[in-house]
């Protein structure tokens, strides 16, 4: 194997390996990788910062949403209360109006009844008068002599009573 021809292959390869590996380490890797390391760290920070920011924004929006829901619920309650108020007010006013109307109707019914009673009494009196007149005429014709008004009135009254 040529690899074990140590006298001829060992030294030159080792020499060039040392030179080239030193150049690789100090001249290439040492110059380039730290730059990349910085960028990677920066990126990590940026990403975690962004995530934090997003979490904060989410919390804020959650709070906003909660507030909105609370506001919505209270507005709904208020509306419900107002509706109930309006309903009860309307019911009260309707009741009041209907009681008033009932009262008026009662009053006019009472007045009408009084009127009717009056009319009836006067009608009765007229009938009594007419009946008395009739009766006295009949008695005059039969007896030839008109009875006294007091007797006639008494007689008719006893009939109508």
């Amino acid at each position: 194997m040529p690899q074990f021809d140590l006298a001829n292959v060992f030294l030159p390869q080792l020499f060039w390996l040392s030179v080239l590996f030193a150049i690789l380490y100090f001249g290439v890797v040492r110059l380039t990788l730290p730059k990349l390391g910085n960028v990677m760290e920066e990126r990590e920070n940026k990403v975690s910062g962004d995530i934090e920011l997003a979490e904060k924004a989410k919390l804020a929006s959650d709070k906003l949403n909660e507030d909105y829901q609370i506001g919505l619920a209270s507005a709904r309650d208020e509306a419900r209360k107002m509706l109930a108020d309006a309903k009860s007010k309307a019911a009260a006013s309707v009741e009041k109006k209907s009681t008033n109307a009932q009262k008026k109707a009662d009053e006019s019914i009472a007045a009408a009844q009084v009127e009717i009673e009056k009319a009836r009494t006067s009608a009765m009196q007229e009938i009594e008068t007419v009946a008395a007149d009739g009766a006295s005429s009949i008695v005059e014709r039969l007896t030839g002599k008109a009875p006294s008004t007091a007797v006639v009135t008494k007689a008719t009254k006893s009939v109508f009573a």
Binding site: L17, V28, L33
Partner: protein, 249 residues
């Protein structure tokens, strides 16, 4: 039949010598340099203008970087992060060498199929682990080998074994990668030569070559997988060894 070992031959491109030492620029060095250039392009383009929202190149580099950082977080803990550039360099260098070697071309070469290269990287890991361990814990680092709450003679025995296994780490780390790469390329080469020799069978030309060709294609897929997995294993073991040095179990 061509020698399947020929592909691992080191060829001088520019002979250089420092005194008596041979420091020639070879095909192995060329492919390591190509790996370096590819990685450099990948990283410099990917991090040219780092954006908060990454483009394709940046996303690709970030993916690998994140992968290495996660591996260190899982295996070492929070203190592992400062070793991310080192583990990343090891991972991407081994990966680039492995993958460039998979280019199906006669001239391509896999530096990680040479134990010199893998041993170099493994020794680097070993030295860093030792330095970190002694720097952080001083001589207390040796307690890494001592099993807790164990019968004393047994503990001595286990400590010896632990110490030997610790010393053998650079070799196992190196040999694992080198052997995987070498075996894969030998296998590809062998089936590649079968395509030619069977395809030349004169009574039934071309037909017989189809079978080894199919195998070669399937093996190429497998080798790509192995190239990635071995780079991952190398980086993973390096971070596990670092964990020993930093946390002492």
């Amino acid at each position: 039949m061509a020698n399947p070992m020929e592909q691992f031959e080191i060829k001088d491109i520019a002979p250089i010598a420092y005194g008596q030492y041979d420091l020639s620029f070879t095909n192995s060095a060329l492919w390591m340099a190509l790996a370096l250039v590819s990685v450099a392009i990948f990283l410099f383009v990917g991090t040219a203008k780092p954006q908060l929202v990454p483009g394709r190149w940046q996303a690709a580099v970030e993916y690998l970087y994140d992968f290495v950082r996660k591996m260190l977080d899982d295996n070492v803990g929070p203190e592992g992060r400062k070793f991310a550039p080192l583990i990343f360099s090891l991972f991407i260098f081994v990966l680039a060498c492995n993958m460039l070697g998979m280019i199906p071309w006669v001239g391509s070469f896999t530096p990680t199929s040479h134990i010199s290269v893998t041993l170099g990287l493994a020794v680097l890991v070993f030295v860093i682990v030792c330095v970190v361990g002694f720097w952080k814990h001083g001589l207390h680092f040796f307690s890494l080998f001592w099993p807790k709450d164990t019968f004393f003679p047994l503990a001595v025995f286990v400590a010896c074994i632990e110490f030997l296994s610790f010393l053998s780490r650079p070799f196992t780390l190196a040999i694992r990668l080198f052997a995987n790469m070498t075996a894969g390329h030998v296998l590809l080469k062998v089936f590649g030569t079968f395509v030619v020799s069977l395809g030349l069978f004169s009574d039934l030309p071309f037909i017989l070559g189809i079978l080894p060709l199919t195998v070669t294609i399937a093996l190429t897929g497998l080798e790509v997988l192995i190239a990635v997995v071995q780079a991952y294993v190398f980086a993973l073991l390096a971070s596990i060894y670092l964990n020993d040095a930093i946390n002492l179990h």
